[in-house]
């Protein structure tokens, strides 16, 4: 059913529909509205679950870890510094193969302090062994969160749903929120067979010597790679329930004869789509929104890039001293193609800088000018830089 809802409010309702048994969180902008709304649902008796308001993100992650180990469906959400404070626990959760879902309301990482949106936080934990799904719209955030539980519980891997802070979390728009029957039909109750249970008392979190650690990592890697099937299947299954089509790994919108492609993650995709219609004069462009960053869908990306001469990777994060993060991985993936497109990699919209419609023509100018731009911060204003030492 359709509602005009703020993104955070919609996510809270969606999480509630997934019947979590334990929620633990610690407030941090811009994640707060999600947890506040969930708290209200609990307070109003609309959600029956244990809500643990912890003393830090570190404990938030630890509480949901314990909750899943004890057999409960769990949820948490955070942003920025919170994600980094959780980092040690995130590795632990995935290594122990504990399925759960968390929302990352993407935000820049300090310092200097910035409370505004970019995707540095989730990128910083890209190696933590979690499934990472990026949402372009709030509707995707709603649908992805529901699918995330199915994916997590089927693969016994944790899933991080990445939603641009403010740009999505604080935006009111018209959204379709499924009803409880739909979600129940899609998502069976959580039954975790490795749970802590006095009737079959296993020990979780053992010490693994070199003779088996490699295998544990290898198994983890294999599981995350294979999670692609689960992600695809979940999207299809959810479409059957709610009727909305969603590209599970990579969303491609083509213009037939496009020779230039732009690949990005998150809410920028919408602005680019709008801009493509707006700026008719600009050459045809194939737009791609990467939904699954972990597992990394190299094959899907190669397939989507066929026939392109140029591919622009536009990302809201930066690996100082190296450049783009996604761009580097995409470039590596494409290097296997016979005729690989030239890859131009840009960071944009760091720390909440607005990404306006005219970013689209500017990208095209930059591509036309340069012959393959390894990396640049496209919206950087050089005259604001301090004098280099």
């Amino acid at each position: 059913m359709q509602y005009a809802l703020e993104g955070s409010q919609a996510l809270a309702r969606t999480v509630a529909l997934c019947r979590p048994q334990v929620i633990a969180a610690y407030p941090i902008t811009p994640q707060t509205h999600i947890v506040e709304n969930l708290s209200k649902l609990v307070a109003d008796g609309l959600l029956d679950c244990e809500l643990v308001s912890v003393e830090s993100e570190f404990s938030a992650a630890s509480v949901v870890l314990g909750a899943v180990a004890a057999g409960a469906r769990a949820y948490t959400a955070s942003s920025s510094q919170g994600i980094l404070l959780m980092c040690e626990v995130l590795y632990n959760i995935s290594g122990l193969r504990l399925p759960m879902v968390m929302t990352c309301a993407n935000r820049a990482v300090s310092g200097p302090l910035s409370i505004w949106n970019d995707q540095q936080d989730s990128m910083a934990v890209r190696d933590a062994g979690w499934v990472q799904l990026y949402c372009a719209t709030n509707q995707e955030a709603v649908d992805t969160t529901i699918q995330a539980y199915l994916i997590a519980e089927q693969t016994e891997l944790p899933v991080m749903v990445c939603v641009d802070g403010f740009t999505l979390t604080h935006t009111l728009e018209v959204l379709d929120i499924p009803d409880q029957q739909q979600v129940d039909r899609f998502l069976p109750p959580f039954n975790f067979d490795r749970r802590l249970d006095p009737t079959s008392p296993i020990s979780i979190g053992t010490l693994v010597a070199p003779d088996f650690f490699t295998e544990s990592r290898g198994d983890h890697h294999r599981a995350l790679t294979n999670a692609q099937q689960a992600i695809v299947a979940a999207a299809a299954a959810w479409e059957d329930v709610c009727g909305r089509r969603q590209n599970p790994l990579l969303c491609v919108s083509d213009m037939g004869d496009a020779r230039i492609g732009i690949l990005t993650l998150g809410s920028i995709a919408g602005t680019l789509a709008a801009a493509r219609d707006h700026f008719q004069s600009v050459p045809a462009t194939r737009l791609m929104a990467l939904r699954a960053f972990r597992p990394f869908p190299a094959e899907a990306i190669r397939h989507a890039c066929e026939g392109l001469t140029d591919l622009v990777v536009l990302e809201r994060a930066l690996s100082p001293g190296s450049g783009g993060i996604v761009g580097t991985e995409v470039r590596a993936a494409l290097s296997e193609l016979q005729t690989a497109p030239r890859v131009h990699n840009f960071s944009v919209g760091l720390g909440g800088r607005d990404v306006p419609m005219d970013i689209y023509p500017r990208i095209h100018e930059a591509v036309r000018a340069g012959s393959g731009i390894p990396f640049d911060i496209i919206d950087l204003e050089p005259d604001k830089l301090p004098a280099a030492i």
């Binding site: 290594g95 122990l96 979780i204």
Partner: protein
């Protein structure tokens, strides 16, 4: 198929049992029984610790049976023994020793009142028969040990009743006759063929016995008083201590003297002194060249009498003259009117020879109407001439063999031991065991008993101080006649007292090792295992840390280097 990783590397419960930490061990804990000091020191050979444990578990009859397996007369020894077990009891270092003799006495009395039968076995068909001469403590002990081992025993006694000096020389206030009879009657009923009124040398001879019996044990005791004179002088109306005592016991002889001096420091001297006091003799002196028992005084220099008895004699007004000798009898005609005493001591020469030295200038006079020597007795040679060759005592080996007389064995006072009832019982038992070995042609064991547990070896952190139980003692005023002076403990006192036993060198089944093993390598068993404990060490896992041994309260666990 090799080992496969589990998802997230979880592990199944208790799978660590695959990993045997026993290989870490350099020393292993073992259960090692060592005698408690009370056991090591008991002349009769009782393991008090063992039967105290049974008493603590209220298994009274088993406790009694454990005693009589060694000593057939617990009701007697519980009363008359000087119980060295209590002097050496490790608990004495902590608070007070266990009242072992009281518990032994209570068990003996319990056996009498409830009529527990001595656990004897019927003699096997064609079992050999052994002759035992003398139904005193030594004879009874030997007879019983042989009986319970399936031999036939003929027990010869000169008097019409059994008991020996227990009956003839012990005043009833120390050993009520009901108790003595109650024990002896049941003992003799255990299958011993008792032949009363049969005197050696009169009714039968050693040779006859030798030819008729597979073996002969001699426990004749000492029936003959030593000759006594001072420089050849003896009073005309000389009374000898033991005879007086016997007469008083037999016919209740009561003298009309107002004062008397008894020479000697043995139990006879003390008993007689007290009997005279009880009979109304105003002043009774005991003169001995030895010392009264004081802490720190050499055993060899102390009066052999039981300290407790000396104490009571003092309470009753008997006057003691220690380190005194009689220098001269003061006579009026042939009647004694007094003694000249002198300080006298036993001094050891360089060559260990003992010399009695009187110190000139220490003479003093003691006026009495009677002088009674009680300086001990010797064996009555009648029928034993061939063995004695006019020595005072028989000479037997540690095992009780009479040297140079195969098939003949002896024990008790007749062998000149210290005249303790318990020692006699011990002699009887050891001799009986020797007889059995000789009959079965088994060599003597050469076992040196391991040393007894010392206080330092116990872990006293696990014990609480508890006062010793005391029995009521008859007030001096009421000490006349036959009333027993020291009465017994009540049952719950006995139980409480038994629980005070530290169980030196034995398993208390206290669970300490089981509780404190960090490696769960001590396992508890439902029923006692063959070493008598309730625990086993699981050497698959024991790392040999030694905690159990260190914390064992009774030093029953010791660490041994790995074999």
């Amino acid at each position: 198929m090799g080992l496969k990783l589990t998802r997230g590397a979880f592990a199944h419960p208790a799978t660590s049992l695959r990993y045997r930490t026993g290989s870490w061990r350099m020393e292993r804990p073992v259960h090692r029984h060592r005698p408690a000091p009370c056991h090591a020191v008991c002349p009769a050979g009782e393991d008090a610790q063992a039967w105290l444990a049974l008493v603590a578990e209220e298994r009274y009859r088993e406790a009694w049976e454990t005693i009589v397996a060694v000593n057939p007369l617990p009701a007697v020894t519980g009363r008359v023994c000087h119980h060295p077990c209590e002097q050496i009891c490790n608990r004495g270092n902590f608070d007070e020793p266990i009242a072992i003799h009281h518990i032994e006495r209570w068990l003996g009395d319990q056996a009498i009142t409830t009529g527990w039968a001595y656990p004897a076995v019927a003699p096997a068909h064609g079992a050999k028969t052994v002759a035992v001469v003398g139904a005193g403590p030594a004879g009874c002990s030997a007879a019983w040990q042989l009986t319970r081992r399936g031999y036939r025993v003929d027990l010869f006694e000169a008097l019409p009743v059994a008991g020996g000096l227990l009956r003839s020389a012990l005043p009833p206030y120390r050993l009520p006759r009901s108790v003595l009879d109650g024990e002896l009657e049941r003992l003799l009923a255990s299958g011993i063929a008792f032949r009363p009124g049969q005197r050696l040398g009169r009714d039968f001879s050693l040779d006859e016995l030798g030819s008729e019996y597979a073996a002969v044990f001699l426990g004749p005791g000492t029936q003959r008083s030593r000759d006594w004179d001072i420089d050849g002088a003896t009073p005309q109306d000389l009374h000898v201590g033991l005879d007086l005592l016997k007469r008083w016991l037999d016919v209740g002889f009561v003298p009309d003297w107002t004062s008397a001096a008894i020479i000697g420091g043995g139990n006879t001297a003390i008993d007689l002194a007290r009997v005279l006091r009880h009979a109304g003799v105003e002043t009774v002196h005991v003169v001995t060249h030895q010392s009264l028992p004081h802490p720190g005084v050499e055993q060899t220099d102390t009066m052999p009498a039981i300290a407790r008895e000396i104490e009571q004699a003092m309470e009753e007004g008997v006057v003691f003259h220690e380190h005194r000798g009689v220098q001269r009898l003061v006579l009026r005609g042939e009647r004694v009117v007094g003694l000249e005493l002198v300080h006298r001591k036993e001094l050891r020469e360089v060559n260990e020879a003992v010399r009695h030295v009187s110190f000139e200038g220490t003479e003093s006079l003691l006026h009495v109407d009677q002088v009674i020597p009680a300086i001990g007795q010797t064996v009555d040679p009648a029928g034993l001439e061939s063995l004695l060759e006019r020595r005072d005592f028989l000479t037997a080996t540690e095992q009780g063999r009479l040297s140079g007389a195969p098939g003949l064995y002896a024990g008790g006072d007749a062998c000149g031991n210290h005249g303790s009832v318990s020692a006699a019982i011990g002699d009887g038992r050891r001799a009986a065991l020797t007889i059995e070995r000789d009959l079965q042609r088994i060599a003597d064991p050469d076992h040196g008993e391991p040393p007894a547990i010392t206080p330092a070896e116990l872990n006293m952190n696990y014990f609480e101080p508890q006062p010793r139980q005391h029995a009521p003692v008859l007030p001096v005023a009421e000490r006349s006649g036959e009333a027993e002076i020291i009465s017994g403990l009540a049952q719950q006192q006995v139980a409480r007292e038994a629980h005070r036993c530290l169980s030196c060198g034995n398993c208390l089944a206290c669970d300490n090792c089981w509780t404190l093993c960090p490696d769960v390598a001590v396992l508890k068993t439902r029923h006692p295992v063959e070493d008598g404990s309730h625990y086993v060490f699981d050497y698959d896992f024991c790392k040999g840390c030694g905690l159990c041994a260190r914390e064992c309260p009774t030093s029953y666990i010791v660490m041994e280097t790995e074999p």
